[in-house]
């Protein structure tokens, strides 16, 4: 038992940690000994002290909170409206044919191009960024909800219909629960898209947020370590989001974990 646990769960972790540590070590040596130009690539201890500076000045916390809020608002709306649109598409061909071209266009166009217009409409504050996040995130959620519902087993719907279930009951007790795996895949896709448009939007036109910090430090002298810190913060946020939704998914789909 113990041996197999070690082999299956710990071994990959240990090897992974080793490779990351080795990478950091080489980077540190290469940077601190000026083998490569440290003002361009920085190195781990320098980045660590930049991290400390950003925390102590309060910049990091303040801007992270703003970005989190923008993302949270936009993404929550994307989940709710995305699922609602997805259901409407699955239920009505007319609605689907009416809106599908717009959706496909929005899905393929980079939402970042709308940010200047959104800023004109909603101001330079957080609202314009929330809406950009919403626009880029809700379409994959809607599309995956529709496909998820179309692919559910016909027998689940039949079982409910046989008991005389109403349309609403069929949606909430058969279609949506059955489509959860697909909806969750859509949400994972949407997280990546949402983060890209959020950071890019902030870098582009905004007063605050992680993206804004990145654009400030990208023109500051010796700003490279700070940029690395901020990139790490964004990457960690994305990772935590995906992890969180994976946990929610396995909580919602206990029948899929065949352990």
């Amino acid at each position: 038992m113990h041996r197999s646990l070690l082999a299956h769960r710990l071994a990959p972790l240990i090897v992974g940690l080793l490779s990351v540590s080795l990478f950091l070590l080489i980077w540190e040596i290469a940077g601190s000994t000026e083998t490569v130009r440290s003002e361009l690539v920085s190195y781990p201890t320098q980045i660590l002290s930049a991290f400390k500076r950003l925390i102590l000045s309060g910049e990091l916390a303040q801007n992270t909170l703003i970005s989190l809020r923008e993302f949270g608002e936009g993404f929550a709306a994307a989940i709710v409206i995305g699922i609602a649109c997805g259901v409407a598409f699955a239920l009505s061909r007319t609605i689907r044919y009416l809106f599908e071209p717009i959706f496909v266009a929005l899905y393929t166009a980079p939402i970042i191009v709308f940010v200047p217009v959104l800023v004109v409409w909603f101001g330079i504050g957080t609202t314009s960024k929330s809406i950009a996040v919403f626009l880029s995130a809700f379409i994959p959620i809607a599309i995956n909800t529709t496909t998820g519902i179309e692919e559910i087993s016909e027998s689940w719907v039949r079982a409910l219909r046989a008991f005389g279930a109403s349309r609403t009951q069929i949606i909430f007790k058969a279609m949506l629960p059955g489509a959860i795996p697909s909806i969750m895949a859509g949400i994972r896709l949407a997280i990546g898209r949402g983060i890209v448009v959020l950071i890019a939007g902030e870098m582009y036109v905004s007063m605050s947020g992680i993206g804004r910090l990145i654009s400030i430090y990208s023109v500051a002298p010796d700003g490279v370590p700070e940029i690395f810190v901020l990139v790490a913060v964004v990457a960690t946020f994305g990772y935590v989001c995906v992890l969180l939704f994976s946990l929610i998914e396995s909580g919602l789909t206990p029948w899929r974990s065949h352990s």
Binding site: S155, R158, A159, A162, F163, G164, W255, H258
Partner: protein, 267 residues
Amino acid sequence: MAQLEVKDLSLSYPGSRSGSTFLALDKVNVSIEKGEFVTIVGPSGCGKSTLLMLVAALLRPTSGAVQLNQKDVTKPGPDRALVFQDFALLPWRTVIKNVELGLELKKVPSAQRRKEALKYLDMVELGKFCNHYPHQLSGGMRQRVGIARALSVDPEVLLMDEPFGALDAQIRQVMGLELLRIWERERKTIIFVTHDIDEAVYLGDRVLVMSASPGRVIQEVKISLPRPRDLSLRNKAEFTAYRETIWNLLEKQVQANGAWRQDSALS
């Protein structure tokens, strides 16, 4: 008066060629008494499952009517509960939650729902498995959940669409016995569709023999075998005689329709 009346029931689909129609059921008349166990046999494609779906009102007839207690059946409802060949359990619900489904749709309060569900789960001997998920159960156990779910809404008629068709031979026999035991206790009217002649004779008070294209009831065979029945019945002369009778009816019309080859290739 009969509890369930099927009157001149026909159903036709648009055919493969434009303008043509395929007659799935042709003026089927059946009348079923309260508490009766009626089995329906017929070759594949004779419309026996279609007949059941029409009684459930999951399909609309082209003409004719289904009446339950002298009232026209127009939409699906818990007074006619279905048991499906593919079980049709919801994989994200535990066993007990699956059994509660019908009650939940009827908006029965949750405490009462639980109590009723447990009662029927105990009846099918799955009380201990109430918190399992369907994928953790065997096929036979899943169908017991399906039966408990159908019974939980206290239907007037239980409609069973080849319920043991997906199970292997031994489990089928055990399930048949269990169903008889439950039926003798609950005395629900049962319409049971099967393609297994033995099963039809063994379970039913009456066997409706159907023909294919167009789907018709060609004969009703009353089964006057004593109840309660058990597996030893299958070796008795009367049982074999009934089986012969039905087999002859089926063989004749299957050959007449030229569907013989197709049917044997399918099974």
